[in-house]
Amino acid sequence: MTTAVGTTPQSPPRPPAPARPKRSGTRAWVTRAPLLPALVFLIVVTQLPFVATLVISLFDWNSLSPDERAFSGLDNYAYVFTDTALRDSVLNTVLLTASVVIATVVVGLALALLLDRTFFGRGMVRTLLITPFLIVPVSAALLWKHALYNPEYGLLNGALSGIGELFGDTDPAQPDWIADMPLLAVVAALVWQWTPFMMLILLAGLQSRPAEVVEAARLDGASAWQTFRYLTLPHLRRYLELGVLLGAVYIVQNFDAVFTITAGGLGTANLPYTIYQTFYQAHEYGLASAAGVVVVIGTIIIATFALRTVSSLFSEEATRA
């Protein structure tokens, strides 16, 4: 992954690599041999299952009709691309991932900038801000579904009626949050859970920023915005990339929030949920495998493009600066 990232503009040109002394073949193998078991293990646990998935995806295989298992070529793939439910879930996955990643980066950056300053009780505030990330995903989803969104006893509607009472409104609005804005409800819960993750990465970036450079900028009369725009942001580039990439990889796979908050209903089913449903409820092994393969290919393509775009964006910045 890091190879596609490119080098930072500030880094000095690399010294030429020292010429390697030529080693004999046996010597090289002696060094490599201890690593071989690890390599074999890696292939066995990652590549073989994928090959098996590829093979299964070519079969019409429903485990509940064992006598009708048959080779069906690319039928499953054709189905994956034509089925509206699957197409909708692809769209949902993209929407969900993009909105959660963007929102967490923005909020996480704001929080990181605030936490980068020294103030009384900072350690405590930091701990409190990190807490959502430490909660088990399924409990976090349950918490949002019941403690916050529930229209009968949820905190959100409780707060609305509390505020309403303050102003003498006896019948304040009591929205049914999940039914009215299902995808947003899932996004909000995920943003709450993943913001600390982005915040931590960006905070690490901010704290690795050399203090003297900022000091020099201040002395040169740079405004706070200019310092942020031309010093902090370029410095944070790698951290932002890392955050976006890791965040996207994890959120694409998110299952707990969708499963718990809406049970895939109201048009919120994402790909992992749909594949789960195809595999565990419909017992369509072939179809689920085909959908899984499509997801892997899609993720690789998107990740490559995203990385290229991000890094080219920043190298343009660097050349202009």
């Binding site: 485990s63 009709s65 006598d67 017992h283």
Partner: protein, 452 residues
């Protein structure tokens, strides 16, 4: 020598450690059973409902002691246990001798020859008293003329309502209500107390959630999922009428957040006094009448509302099936007959109270004075609901396969869930009932193709 001995000791310990790790790994891998159970023990895979957990606790002392048969249990939540049983039984892996299945699985498990027929055992074992098992359950666990499973407990559905609220509002619940009467009562009971809604009905997606009560309404209003010749009927006038009725009722007088409410949410609403009526499983009564429940003794129970059929309650049972590939079917029968037997009910009644008895399966339970005293409020209605349930003919027209709140085909877990997602969106007001059913009809069409 001492040096060598010590070395050997270390090696032996290391070996033991590795073996233990391997065992642990085997256990963790979810293989369960065999690694720990040993060759002679009976492996049982069951759902984690409270009644099963209690059975697990009583087995060693009361069953193994008497018969010498060791039982090793694997206990999983409902969805996982279904999945695991399907996988083990469909591959005839033989890892589990006994599994908890239901009347949903029996027809197609039997057709695929995955289950050990039990009729010979049941005939020979006179103490078990097969005739005591309630007829609808017996029938629903019979396929192609042979018996394939024995029920552990059974349930149907009925209407629960707050007697005190009805009295205060001057409302009367008819002894055998129709859905129109229930809708009228829901409108009048709505707002009877601060924050109280007229009725609670499931709106949560899932073939075992929203679809179960909705299908009983469809049945009694003259609809069906499929005709006898596998023509999907989801866009028929009767199916539409029933779905529109259900969606309208829950939208107008049902719980808030209906599209996300299932069995658990409605049980909670009823317990917390947030709803005046609740149409759901008879098993819910046990929780409402439990010690410490704020509504204990305030609930009245009447049969499932009807319209064009005589009764409309559903039928469900957790039952024991023996895997065809099991080499210990004799021992397995001993366990099954003990767990589903009269003696076991008495044992639970004496050790932890009669209200906890896994009921709903034997006629004799309902003649038992001790049980009647503990479960008096709902025992009769439950028994009547189960006895009247007819999975082979639950509606107004013949069906291709048995099932009241489901269609007894393997594809239904998926079809039902996807249709439920459409209807749940209608409950949330995000699309019309017509659009939800039009999409559902297409899904049903795909499934039906395989059977025509």
């Amino acid at each position: 020598m001492p040096h060598q001995q010590r070395r050997r000791g270390t090696r032996a310990r290391a070996f033991a450690g590795t073996a233990a790790m391997a065992l642990l790994a085997a256990g963790c891998a979810g293989a369960g059973g065999t690694a720990f159970g040993g060759g002679d023990a009976l492996n049982v895979l069951m759902v984690n409902n409270p009644q099963m957990v209690q059975l697990q606790k009583l087995t060693a002392e009361h069953f193994t002691e008497e018969t010498g048969i060791k039982v090793h249990f694997t206990v999983l939540p409902e969805n996982d246990v279904r999945d695991k049983i399907s996988q083990d039984f469909s591959n005839q892996a033989g890892q589990y001798d006994v599994g908890t299945i239901s009347n949903f699985e029996v027809p197609f498990f039997a057709k695929n020859d995955w289950l050990h027929p039990l009729d010979t055992y049941a005939e020979q074992d006179t103490a078990f008293d097969q005739d005591d098992i309630l007829e609808p359950l017996r029938d629903s666990l019979t396929a192609e003329g042979r018996l394939y499973a024995e029920p552990f407990y059974g349930e149907s559905s009925f209407l629960m309502y707050r007697k005190d609220v009805f009295e205060a509002k001057g409302l009367t619940m008819p002894p055998d209500p129709t859905w129109q009467q229930v809708a009228a009562l829901a409108a009048r009971a709505d707002g009877a107390e601060r924050g109280m809604k007229g009725i609670c009905l499931r709106g949560l997606p899932g073939w075992g959630e929203l679809i179960a009560p909705l299908t009983t309404v469809v049945n009694t209003m003259g609809g069906t999922w499929f005709t006898e010749d596998w023509e999907p009927q989801l866009t028929s006038p009767e199916f539409k009428k029933a779905t529109r009725f259900y969606v309208d009722l829950v939208r107008k007088h049902g719980e808030r957040g209906a599209s996300q409410s299932g069995y658990a949410e409605c049980l909670n609403n009823m317990t917390q006094g947030k709803t005046a009526m609740w149409y759901d499983a008879t098993a819910g009564a046990g929780s409402l009448e439990a010690a410490g429940s704020p509504v204990k003794g305030k609930i009245g129970y009447v049969p499932a509302p009807v319209e064009r059929t005589r009764s409309s309650g559903w039928l469900y049972t957790w039952a024991w099936g023996i895997q065809k590939a099991s080499k210990k079917s004799d021992d397995a029968w001993k366990f099954v007959s003990w767990a589903s037997g009269k003696e076991y009910e008495a044992l639970v009644g004496e050790t932890s109270g009669w209200a906890d008895v896994p009921a709903g399966k034997r006629a004799s339970t309902y003649d038992n004075p001790a049980y009647r005293e503990a479960a008096g409020a709902f025992a009769d209605v439950t028994e009547r609901a189960i006895s009247r349930a007819d999975p082979k003919n639950p509606g107004t027209q013949p069906r291709p396969v048995p099932g009241i709140q489901f269609v007894g085909i393997p594809e239904f877990t998926d079809l039902g869930t996807r249709v439920a997602q459409e209807i749940s969106a209608a409950v949330a007001g995000r699309q019309s009932v017509e659009k939800a059913l039009a999409t559902s009809q297409k899904l049903a069409e795909q499934v039906a193709k395989e059977y025509r």
